[in-house]
Symmetry: D3
Subunit: 66 residues, 6 copies
């Protein structure tokens, strides 16, 4: 019954990559804790780079600075 | 002072349905725990079906398979 | 497939009250959005009153002031 | 290593305001707890007013009533 | 810079299992999205079985029924 | 009406420090976005160092290595 929430920056994550994240996170919970995949929920949230900060500044600013 | 976060798939939830979720969740906290509705916060988040996984695959894939 | 996260202050919520929150939140999603209860997840988190703030001060302080 | 999640209503928050929220939240964790800003993550989420409820009704409805 | 939040029921998860979840989730983000592990944050939350519901009832009740 | 969730490692955060985090986060939302402090909610969650990972390993392990 685990719930996994993955937050990443919104930068063109493809449907195929999302499918891999969902499968990989589910497999991880099955393998490490023996959880039932049928009730393992994975939710991916994509966050605009303006809205994600690290080191006190946004990813947008960090990317622009190079 | 409760905080309720409801995550559902993004599949045409109407304004009226959102209003019912907000009222219903608030009523539930008032009824069960005697909380003050004036400070009960409900946040609904709609998640694209590509970004929601259960059983190791996305809702998009499950819907397509029928 | 909804996911509902309920955060309340940690002030003696009983097992019976938690059961009512779980059933009530699940029923709400079934009734309003026609969701499948079998995959509706509800997670209740109890937060110490020192750790919950509103109006710029903790619930502990507000309770003490009466 | 703190993680700060700020949820606000989606009502024209500017890039400059987001930058101030990111810097301010990071500074707060550095000042109060001596955390390392380099690993302090801030994620801002903007929620449509239809999806945010308080007092049992949405912000959209509250705004309309004036 | 991803952030991964894993919620599981509080049922004796060992330090070794937590280490495997942290490493596995980090590796997943590196492998699928090429993220930098140094800024990939994983937070595991353990939820009492009374506080986790699925199918309208708590895990405690489901476990007791067998 | 903002909601701020601050997650930090569980390492002896005092009641006074929590009060400063609550006041500081509330002030930030008032100052930057003109939000109403009376409905600004701050929730602090303390996470055991075993349960917090960065760079693929737990804070417990990083602290032990020095």
């Amino acid at each position: 019954m685990p719930y996994v929430n993955i937050k990443v920056t919104e930068e063109g994550v493809t449907g195929e990559q999302k499918a891999q994240l969902i499968q990989g996170a589910t497999d991880l919970l099955v393998r490490v804790l023996g959880k039932n995949p049928a009730t393992t929920v994975v939710v991916i949230e994509e966050i605009p780079t303006d809205n994600w900060g690290i080191g006190g500044e946004s990813i947008t600013v960090r990317r622009a600075r190079g």
